[in-house]
Symmetry: C2
Subunit: 702 residues, 2 copies
C-alpha cells in the first residue's frame, strides 16, 4: 500500500484508516492546521517562533541521568547561552539593551520549558525575579548600577523572599532590616531558624547577590516587608561574605539543574541606598516615607511584580501539556493492541473509547487553557506596559493569574501522568520525556503561590465583589445587574466575571437544561454555578467579619472547601469563555466545526465533572443529566479523525518533542509485524493454531 | 511549658491543643494504637515485624542522587544482603531451604518498599518472577537444578515475557520456540523488532539466564505461549551467548536501581528439557501433550503465577501510602501558617478544613485498602498453599487482584502527590521522600497488568456472572437470588460479589437514602450501584457475541467507559466491605468509634464521588444529596483529634519514614519562633507596627 503523507491535514487519511473499525462518520470537515497553529501562538507569535527555534537546539536540552551537580553546571552554562542569543532581555529597559516588551518576554520565557524546565526556572530566578525586583522595586540609580551585570549574568543572583517558616504568607516573614542612623546602614538579621531563607534558586552555589525581603524597621516602627540588595559571596572565592551563611537544599523531586538553598544573615550591614526604594524610602535621619500611604496596599503593590511568575508558569504548563499530548496521541494513533474487531488485525489504541476519553478530554482542556493564557498574557502586558495600569487593572490581573495558574499547573501534572500511563511501559522510559517533565513541573503547583492559597485569594475577591454589588440593593437593581451581565459577556474578557445572585429557576437555566449542547446553554450552566456557589457561601459568611476573630475564622474555615470549589468553578468558566471567544477568530469553516466540538467537549466535561451539583440544585433534570456522558462519547468519535491535526497545530517539532515513541518508530514496528504475519499467511507455511485444530476436530466428530 | 509525651495515645494532648481553635468536641474517645496496629498488620504480623526491622537498616536504604549506574550496583549488592538475611526464600520449597509460606513471603516482600522500591522490585524479578516461574511452571527436576542457584543469587535472571509490541496482551507475543526433532532442541527466534523482549528487569546487565515466554511450535502446530529456561550470558565474561542480543532500556521515570533492558534471539537452541513443562510437554518425537486440554485454560493457568505480582504491588502501594500520610499528617500537626484565628498565633495546617479533606479522605481510603489487601493476601495464601485451590478459587483470586491492584496503586500515586503538595516546598525536597517514592511507584499503575486492562478483566467477569445468573431465570428465581445475596454478605469475604439485577425503587434503597450515615445505608447504596451498572451494560451488550466480530467489538467499545466505571465501583465496594468487616474485629470501644468514623468517611467519600450517579438514578433525593458534603465535613472535625494516633497505628518508625519534616524539627522551629515573639512582646521592645500606629492615629484624629 503506497501512502501519501499530507502535511497539511491527516484527517482524510485517518478517517479512511478508521472507517473500517468505527461507525461511519458524516463527511469529515478538515482542520487548517497552519491557521489554527497561528491562532494558538497568539499575539507574540513571532517571539514564540524565535524562542522555539532556540529551545529546539541541543545546546539547551536537558540531558537525563546527570547528577544534580553536573546538571547544575550544565544549566548555568546554558544561562550564558541564553544571554549570548539575546533570549532573556526583552523585559528590560531599552536604555540598557532590553526591549521593554513585557508580554513578549514572558512568551519567549514560556517556550523554554521544552528545552529543560530547570533552565526555564533558573532563567526565571535570574531575570524574572532577581532582575525584575531590581527593575520594578528599585529606582533608576539601582537599575543603572545593577541591571547591566544582572542582564549579562556577571551577577548571578537570588530572590530571597521565602523562608522555611513562611512560603505563601509573605507578610509574615521574620527576617529584619533595621535602620541604624549612626552608620546610615540597614542591619539584616535572621532571628531564628524558621526565618532562614529557603528554597532559594541560585543560593546554594551561584548567587553572588540577592534581593532580600525583610521587615523594614526604622525608629522602632516596623513598616512591613521591603526589598534590599545584598551581596552574598565574594566573586572570586565564591565564599559567603561575613555574617552570611547557608545550606544546600540538596536534591529535589525535579528541577535539579537549579541550586536551591538556604540563607541566613547575622548583623549583615548594607548601605541605606541598598533599599530598593521605589515604594518606600528611609531618609538618612531614619524617617520613613512612601508614595503609598496604606501599608497593606503598599505591600500588595510591591508583591505585584510576582504576578509575572504566575503568568509565565501558566503558559509553561500549557506548553508542557501540549508536548505531552502530541506525543501520546501520535503514539496512540500508531500503536495496536488486542484484536477486538478482527481475527488478524489489532486495534489502534486511539480507537478505544476509554483511550479517547483519557486523551481528548485533556486535549480540550489544554486548548481552553491555551486561549485563557493568551488573555492573561495580554492583560499582563497591558498592565506592565503601562497602557492600562490602574489599581483595578492590577487587581484584575492578580485575580486572573491566581485563578488560571492553579488550573493549568494541576492540569499539566494530570496530563503528563495520563499520557505516561496511556503509553504504558514506554511512557515510563525517560527517553519519552513524560516522567522527566512531570517531575520537573511538580513544584509548579506550589511555588510562586501555592495553588490552594491562590484559589482562596480568588474566592476572597469573588466574595468581595459579591458583597460590593449586593450590599443594600433592591431587587430592581439586582434584576438590572443580571441583565447587564449577559450583555457584558463578550467584552468582559480579561477581568473577573462579576458575581450576581442568580435565582435558580429562571427561564434561562431551564432553557440551558434543554440546550446542553449549545454555547448559550453551556455558558448559562457554568456561569450560574459560579454565581450560586459564591452567593451561597456569601450568605453563610454574612457578618463573619463582625465576629470575634477566632469565631469568624472558625466560620470561614467551615466553608473553606466550598470557597475553593467556587474559585475553581470561576477559573473553569474563564477558560471556557476564552475558548469560546477564540472560536470567533476562526475563519475556516472546517476548523471552526472541529474546534467547536472540542469546546463542547470541554464544556460538557466540566458539566459532567460537577454533575452532582447541577442535579442537586435542580439545574439539570435526572433525564438530562443522563445524556451528558452519552453526548461526550459521541463527541469523542467526532473528534477522533482530527486528533492528529489538532496536536499538529500545536506546532512542536521533533526537536521539541524528543520522544522516541513520537518519531513514527512504532508505526514502522507495527507495519513490520503485520507484514511478517501477512507474508506468513500468504505463504501457507504458518503453523496451525492448536485452538483452531481443536475447533475443527470438534466439528468433525460431532 | 512541660510536655508529657504519651506514646500510647496523643488524642487528649491534641484535643487540648486544638480546643482553642476549633469548636468544642464531645468527650473524645481514645484509640488503642498498639491494638489497632496489630490488626492492621494482619495474619502475617510476625513476618511484617521481621521485614520492617530489615527494611529499617541503612544497608538497604535508597541513596538519593546516585546515577542509575551506581544505583544499579548498590541494589544488586543489596539483593545479596537479602539472601544473607533470609529475607527472600519464604515461598520456596522447604526441601530447598525455603519455608513454603506463600502469604508470608508476599507480606515480607511488601515491606521492602520502605527501604527502596528498586530493591523491592528487583527482588521481585529475581525470586517472585524468575524463580517463581521455574518453581510453578517447571517440574521437580527443573526446581532441583535451578532453584538453588536462583535462591542464592548465583544465577541472577530475567522474566522475559513482555515484548515491545505486546505488554498486557501476553497471548499475542511473537517470539517463537520451534521444536527440532532432529536435535531434540527448541529453536528460539525473534521474528521482528516488535517481538524483542522489553522492559525486562535484570536484562540490561545482571541476568545470566531467563525464563523466556514464546509460542511453542511443534509439528507445525502452535500450542500457544510456554516458558523456556534460557541461558543468556557467559557467567565469567558477562557477554551475551551466541544468538542473543539486547539493549539497555536506559533511565526510567523511577526504579533506576533496576537494569531493565531488551532481549532478542536468533536461532538460539535450548535442550528439549528446558521447556518448563508442568502444563505442557513435548516428547522427543515432537508430540505435544498437556494435562489441560483447553489451550485457553492452559494459558490462564500458566499465567496464574503472575497474580502474586499483582497481590504484592497492592500491598506495597498500601505501605507507601501509609508512609506518606504519616509524614504529611505529622508535619501538618506541627506546621503553622496564617494567623486566621488569633492576632499572634498562626493556625496549625491540620486545623484547616481543606487540609483535613485532602489528608483524611486519603487516610480513610488507605485503611480501607489495607484491610482489603489483607483479604486478598489470605485468599492468595489459600490458593497457593493448596488449601483452597479449585478453579473457582483461582478465578476469584485473579478477579480480586485485578480489582484491588488498580485501586491501590492509583491511590498511592494520588496520595504521594497530595501529601507532597500539602507539605509545600518542603514536600518537593527529596529528603522528605514523597517525590522519590512517587517516581518509583509510578510504573506500578501499568506493570504487572495495566490498571485499565485489569479493570476490564474485572468487568468481563462481572458481566459473565451477570449472564450466568440471569440467563432464562424467571422472576421468582431472581427474587430468591436477591434475598440470598443479602444473607450472604457477611461470609462472602474474599470472592467476587455476586451481581444481581437490582430494582431501583425497592424499599431498601429508599431506606438507604434516609440512613446515609448507617452501615446498611452505605452498603445498600454502594452495592446497588455496582449491580445496576453491570445490569445496564449487560442489557446493552446483550447479543453482542452473536454479532460479526467487528460489530460486536464496536458495540463493546461504545460501553468501554461504563464497563471500567462498573469495575471500579465493584472494587470500591470490596474495599468498603473489607473495612466494615475489620470493624468487627475491634474490641476497644474508643478505637471502634474512631475507626467507624473513618469507615463512614470512606463510604461517604465514595458516595460523594459518584453522587451524580445516585441523583440521576433516583437513589438519592436532591435534598439528601446536599447533606453528603456537610456530613463529610463534620466527620473531618471528629477525626481530627485522632489523626496522629491513626497514623501512629501504621507502625512505621523514623527508620522507615526517613523524612526530615516528620522528625519533630518543624515543631522545634515553630516553638522557637513563637518563643522569640512572645519574649519580644513581653520585653516591650518589639517595634510598633506601622499599620497599628496608623489605626491609632486615625482614631485620635476622629
Amino acid at each position: 500500500m503506497t501512502e501519501v503523507v499530507d502535511r497539511t491535514s491527516s484527517s482524510n487519511r485517518v478517517a479512511a484508516e478508521t472507517a473500517a473499525t468505527t461507525q461511519p462518520v458524516e463527511p469529515a470537515p478538515t482542520v487548517d492546521v497552519a491557521a489554527l497553529g497561528e491562532l494558538l501562538l497568539g499575539k507574540w507569535a513571532h517571539i514564540r517562533h524565535t524562542a522555539r527555534d532556540l529551545a529546539g537546539r541541543p545546546e539547551v536540552h536537558k540531558i537525563e541521568g546527570l547528577t544534580h551537580t553536573e546538571h547544575r553546571k550544565r544549566v548555568f552554562g546554558q544561562l550564558k547561552y541564553l544571554v549570548d542569543n539575546n533570549a532573556v532581555h526583552r523585559a528590560f529597559p531599552t536604555s540598557l539593551g532590553g526591549s521593554d516588551d513585557h508580554g513578549g518576554n514572558i512568551a519567549g520565557f514560556e517556550e523554554l520549558v521544552t528545552a529543560d524546565p530547570s533552565l526555564q526556572i533558573k532563567a526565571g530566578v535570574q531575570w524574572g525575579l532577581f532582575g525584575s525586583a531590581v527593575m520594578h522595586l528599585g529606582t533608576k540609580e539601582h537599575q543603572d548600577k545593577w541591571l547591566p551585570g544582572i542582564m549579562s549574568l556577571e551577577i548571578p543572583g537570588c530572590f530571597a523572599m521565602t523562608e522555611t517558616g513562611h512560603g505563601s504568607d509573605v507578610a509574615s516573614i521574620a527576617t529584619t532590616a533595621t535602620y541604624d542612623e549612626a552608620t546610615q546602614e540597614f542591619v539584616i538579621n535572621t532571628p531564628f531558624r524558621a526565618a532562614w531563607k529557603d528554597y532559594i534558586g541560585n543560593a546554594a552555589e551561584d548567587g553572588l547577590a540577592a534581593v532580600v525581603f525583610a521587615q523594614l524597621v526604622t525608629r522602632n516602627v516596623n513598616h512591613g516587608v521591603h526589598a534590599f540588595y545584598v551581596e552574598l559571596r565574594d566573586p572570586d572565592t565564591k565564599e559567603f561574605l561575613p555574617g552570611i551563611g547557608g545550606e544546600d537544599d540538596g536534591i529535589k523531586g525535579g528541577l535539579n539543574g537549579i541550586d536551591n538553598g538556604r540563607l541566613h544573615f547575622t548583623d549583615v550591614r548594607v548601605p541605606r541606598t541598598s533599599l530598593l526604594n521605589r515604594y518606600g524610602n528611609v531618609a538618612p535621619d531614619g524617617e520613613y516615607t512612601s508614595p503609598i500611604a496604606s501599608p497593606g496596599r503598599r505591600f500588595f503593590t510591591m508583591l505585584g511584580t510576582l504576578v509575572q511568575g504566575r503568568v509565565s508558569l501558566d503558559g509553561a504548563a500549557v506548553a508542557a501539556s501540549k508536548v505531552a499530548l502530541t506525543t501520546a496521541i501520535r503514539y496512540a494513533a500508531e500503536r495496536r493492541q488486542f484484536n477486538a474487531s478482527s481475527p488478524t488485525d489489532e486495534e489502534v489504541l486511539l480507537d478505544y473509547q476509554r483511550h479517547q476519553r483519557r486523551l481528548f478530554t485533556r486535549l480540550a482542556t489544554t486548548v481552553a487553557a491555551s486561549f485563557a493564557h493568551e488573555q492573561l498574557l495580554e492583560k499582563f502586558d497591558d498592565v506592565f506596559s503601562g497602557r492600562h495600569d490602574t489599581d483595578a487593572d492590577r487587581q484584575d490581573l492578580e485575580t486572573l493569574a491566581a485563578a488560571l495558574k492553579p488550573m493549568s499547573t494541576w492540569h499539566a501534572l494530570d496530563t503528563l501522568q495520563e499520557c505516561r500511563e496511556a503509553c504504558g511501559g514506554a511512557g515510563f522510559l525517560i527517553e519519552n520525556r513524560f516522567a522527566s517533565l512531570r517531575a520537573d513541573l511538580d513544584v509548579y503547583a506550589t511555588f510562586e503561590g501555592d495553588n490552594t492559597v491562590l484559589l482562596q485569594l480568588v474566592a476572597k475577591r469573588l466574595l468581595a465583589d459579591y458583597a460590593k454589588e449586593f450590599r443594600n440593593v433592591d431587587f430592581g437593581v439586582l434584576a438590572r445587574f443580571v441583565a447587564a451581565q449577559a450583555a457584558d459577556v463578550a467584552i468582559n474578557r480579561t477581568g473577573l466575571r462579576q458575581v450576581a445572585q442568580f435565582v435558580a429557576d429562571t427561564g434561562s437555566v431551564q432553557k440551558a437544561a434543554l440546550a446542553l449542547r449549545d454555547e448559550e446553554g453551556q455558558r448559562t450552566l457554568l456561569t450560574d454555578r459560579v454565581q450560586s456557589m459564591v452567593a451561597e457561601v456569601g450568605s453563610a459568611l454574612k457578618g463573619a467579619n463582625k465576629l470575634p476573630q477566632h469565631q469568624g475564622a472558625a466560620l470561614f474555615n467551615q466553608h473553606q472547601d466550598d470557597l475553593i470549589e467556587a474559585a475553581q468553578a470561576h477559573a473553569e468558566l474563564l477558560q471556557w469563555e476564552a475558548f469560546t471567544e477564540a472560536l470567533g477568530k476562526v475563519g475556516d469553516p472546517g476548523t471552526l466545526r472541529v474546534l467547536t466540538w472540542l469546546r463542547d467537549l470541554f464544556g460538557l466535561s466540566l458539566i459532567e465533572k460537577h454533575l452532582s451539583w447541577y442535579l442537586m440544585n435542580g439545574r439539570l433534570s435526572m433525564q438530562r443529566g443522563r445524556t451528558v456522558g452519552a453526548y461526550i462519547n459521541r463527541l469523542l468519535v467526532k473528534i477522533r479523525p482530527h486528533a492528529l491535526d489538532l496536536v499538529d497545530s500545536f506546532g512542536y517539532g521533533p526537536e521539541h518533542l524528543r520522544a522516541a515513541i513520537a518519531s513514527g518508530a512504532e508505526k514502522e514496528r507495527q507495519d513490520e509485524a503485520r507484514g511478517y504475519f501477512q507474508a506468513q499467511r500468504a505463504s501457507g507455511e504458518a503453523p496451525a493454531e492448536e485452538k483452531s485444530l481443536l475447533a475443527l476436530k470438534g466439528r468433525k466428530s460431532s
